[in-house]
Symmetry: C2
Subunit: 544 residues, 2 copies
């Protein structure tokens, strides 16, 4: 029953004997290479399966005692795992930042495992180390645009780093703020710096109560992880209201000053280059000036929006990013690289030294080992995926992709605007937008109601939106996400909205039209829709 | 010249049009699938190329403006990158923990990218979430061996986590110590805990000077990164001498008490389950008791040695690991999974809640999203690789692999012992051993010299070892690493040694014999060898 023999000889086969060309795994590979959308639509089950049902296939905590044939296992994978995974390639899966990828990544993934380099040190990565440094250099160049001399001097310097490659934006944000913390509370006189002496000693030495971080309420949850991890404390992540989705520089300056006047030190101001929820971009240029005035580090979290720099048409909306001390960009978002490729870039090539670590057997002083200034140790060669994408797509290729995503988002926004029973909540700055379904008559009523009453009515609309989002997901044809946010229309009370990310180049206008229609149909059939209409006085309905 | 057209149509091709079956990338894939060792030996250049030469291929910080044809790019990759990468599959590459992998991982890598799930949340991973939880459960079971009720209750509980999957051992160690810190300095009365209030407030509240970590000098450099990152400070990582490569429990207790008596709080005692440098295992059972007596967290870093638990013959040497509050295991080491699969396991399923984070649009309260208790945010589905390996190899398969690695190491140790001009420095506990080349007559002389003089002579032997290691690596046939450590033979003065990791199942006794012979030949031809012999009085040479 699929049990393989337990002998060294059998085991060595998995290392030495290639999979047969007709094997199940070879078939999977071929199908993926031939037509990935077809593979996914054939194997990913669209009918509703509850998480609890899926869990039953993964319920045993006892590991298998005896080996299983590869082919048997491949069948099991298809049936238990692939069948109940999410079709992120689908053009109608527009709820998150995961999208279809170019075909060449399938082959590169295989090459990556075939090489199985470890980028912590040159001895186990060799050419991958200069490659990763070059990728970081190109991204640095894209942001900071320094001259040839600069990159000639720093790109491959053992004592410098233009950035840190990592598994994702969270680690990138943590790395950037770790550098900021260690630099801000660095060695001074006989004080050896926070890295050596710890945070409590550093506070005593620098005579500060607390260290704080300032950003808008749209700041990514990784900032909260970062201040926890770094010992700063979540209470010192000061998030400012942003009814228009972006941080007001005047408010940032005022709150920053107040915080400082209380005997605290401001570690950093964080500007967002594309919020996760609505895609908005903070006024980076002005925030850079605020940070300067406050005398603190300026970090830009452009995990999502950083790739907009590829577009000559749109890079202007990130103006000021070049003044940032550090920038986060995720290649696995709008650079269409497989999951697991984040980067923190540093304006000043010396800064990463604030977190430099050495060891006897690797990362020796003076070596170019990348692990000396990264949070992670052993790491795979994901940088190759970014390198290849930069070459195969080129700046102009990325530019087209970025432009068409934003254009598509604008068209979808117009579609929503034109529909009487939908309400556009945030217009697309980049390719993200939020909206909700809400009977037109309720929209009109909400406009005339005082705040408290409109809040009550809105919470009913929230329920409708939640229901529609869930039912649409369960129907399996398409996926739109949801979030809660303060809106420019309804003030400080957050409302629940649909959230759409138009990153998949394969998503067509027709797909979008169908998604909207599906939502409308689900909504009208929903109990809450009827309740909403029933709450409206008959005369209003007659007028409508 | 390999420039592709910049048009949306061309760009969409990389997303929609599969690579042709005769394309360069398809050829690379086929070669990898057919015979990976042949692919690598054909494409990885063995002749010496300096890093500086390689860097010239990655010197431009300007990203390409126009797209490149995939086939042109594939040629470039082979020539610039693959040619100068490290052949980690080679049976004679025995210097690091990166080894050959089973063939099925090549296909799985492709499937992983084809699915491109994001494990931060269920909405973008679905079945991968229960799968990852099951993998963590199986590893938890392997260590802690709880009953069915336990796993039935906690494996898929939204409010619990048996561990955290991450990119590698460094992040696993950091995660474990982050949990330890937040639990140790948790909420108390009106104090909201270190996660919220920060480290300085926590020190004030708990009235402590410093928080410290205790481990042996063989502790991995990630511990130093961890105490820096967590705000504890590197000075509070107390590393104890271990001339016999393992931590003496009596010494740990004594030093721990002293540290506490100075008004400090001991956060954790770290035991090592397989040191990176020599593979030694601390006396975990006794250290667990020491930690209990000191009233601190007990963490075991078994990134390397954890897989020994698969072997009934050898799991006994990890006795006491089941008393650890947290354990780190890397699947990309002795579990033969591609780079990028680390795990932190927690004895108590409640503990991970000490680092729980929520956000509005994902990781909602009560959800089973894995991102709520992991350091990383967006993550790929590497857990599938571990899952498949556990099934295809089974416990018994892993057992055989572990046993034969250790047996091989013992045989190699005997080979070294039998050679008059080699000196075994540390015997293998697991499959790692260290040794050095040193003319027999010098070995004899060292035995009779007082410490200061022997140190001078040893530093000359060190130079010989460094030269041999470098020249052997440059010759390209084989790779052995080197490190510096205190040895049982020469006391507290560290010496430079060769370090060998026998993880690759394909490495034969004949390979090992050839490596030793090559080292011997390189050594005898080396200038330092002559210098060493010249320093010996003629009469001693005559007697030898």
């Amino acid at each position: 029953m699929g049990e393989a023999q337990v002998s060294l000889k059998h085991l060595f086969r998995v290392f030495t004997k290639p999979e047969h060309k007709d094997s199940k795994l070879a078939q999977i590979e071929e199908h993926l290479s031939d037509n990935i959308l077809d593979f996914l639509s054939q194997h990913v089950v669209t009918k509703k399966t509850s998480l609890e049902e899926v869990e039953q296939d993964f319920a045993d905590a006892k590991m298998p005692e005896t080996p299983e044939f590869v082919s048997t296992h491949a069948e099991n994978l298809l049936e238990k795992l692939v069948a109940h995974s999410v079709n992120t390639y689908s053009p109608t899966f527009i709820g998150h930042m995961t999208s279809a990828l170019p075909y060449f990544h399938l082959s590169l993934a295989k090459l990556l495992v075939g090489l199985n380099q470890n980028l912590v040190k040159i001895e186990t990565s060799k050419a991958f180390t200069p490659l990763e440094r070059q990728v970081l250099g190109m991204m640095h160049n894209l942001i900071y645009d320094q001259d040839e001399d600069f990159y000639g001097k720093y790109l491959h310097s053992a004592r410098h780093a233009l950035g840190a490659f990592c598994s994702g934006g969270t680690v990138a944000n943590i790395t950037a703020l770790w550098v900021a913390r260690n630099k801000t509370l660095g060695p001074q006189g006989s004080f050896p710096g926070v890295a050596r002496a710890g945070l409590a000693s550093a506070y005593r030495h620098y005579d500060i109560n607390n260290l704080g971080l300032l950003c808008s309420r749209r700041g990514h949850y990784s900032l909260s992880k970062a201040v926890d991890l770094l010992g700063i404390g979540r209470e010192n992540l000061i998030t400012l209201p942003c009814p228009n989705q972006t941080l007001d520089p005047a408010l940032a300056l005022k709150q920053g000053r107040e915080y400082q006047e209380q005997g605290n030190k401001l570690l950093a101001l964080v500007g967002i280059g594309g919020t996760t929820e609505t895609g908005h971009i903070d006024p980076l240029d002005e925030l850079a000036d605020v940070a300067k005035e406050l005398g603190c580090w300026f970090h830009v979290d452009a995990a999502w929006g950083g790739a907009t720099l590829f577009s000559s048409d749109y890079r202007g909306i990130l103006k000021g990013i070049e003044k940032a001390d550090s920038v986060t960009i995720d290649a696995h978002k709008q650079m269409y690289v497989p999951m697991g490729a984040g980067m923190a870039l540093f304006k000043n090539p010396e800064d990463a030294n604030a977190v430099r670590h050495h060891a006897q057997y690797i990362l020796r002083e003076g070596s170019k080992d990348l692990g000396a200034t990264t949070l992670e140790g052993s790491r795979n060669g994901m940088a190759m995926m970014v390198y290849s994408s930069l070459h195969i797509l080129g700046r102009k290729g990325y530019e087209l992709l970025i432009n068409q995503s934003i254009d598509k988002a604008k068209k979808f926004a117009a579609m929503i605007d034109a529909h009487p029973d939908f309400e556009l909540v945030t217009s697309p700055t980049l390719s993200i937008l939020t909206y909700r379904v809400c009977p037109q008559v309720i929209q009109q009523q909400l406009k005339s109601l005082p705040a408290a009453q409109s809040q009550r009515l809105n919470s009913k609309v929230d329920r409708l939106v939640v229901n529609v989002q869930k039912l649409q997901r369960e129907a399996g044809k398409s996926f739109v996400s949801r979030t809660r946010l303060e809106s420019p229309i309804y003030g400080p009370y957050p409302i629940t909205v649909f959230r759409v990310v138009l990153a998949n180049p394969m998503t067509t206008k027709r797909d979008l039209k169908a998604i909207l229609e599906e939502q409308y149909e689900i909504a009208m059939r929903n109990r809450v829709w009827q309740e909403l209409l029933a709450s409206v006085p008959q005369e209003t309905l007659d007028q409508a």
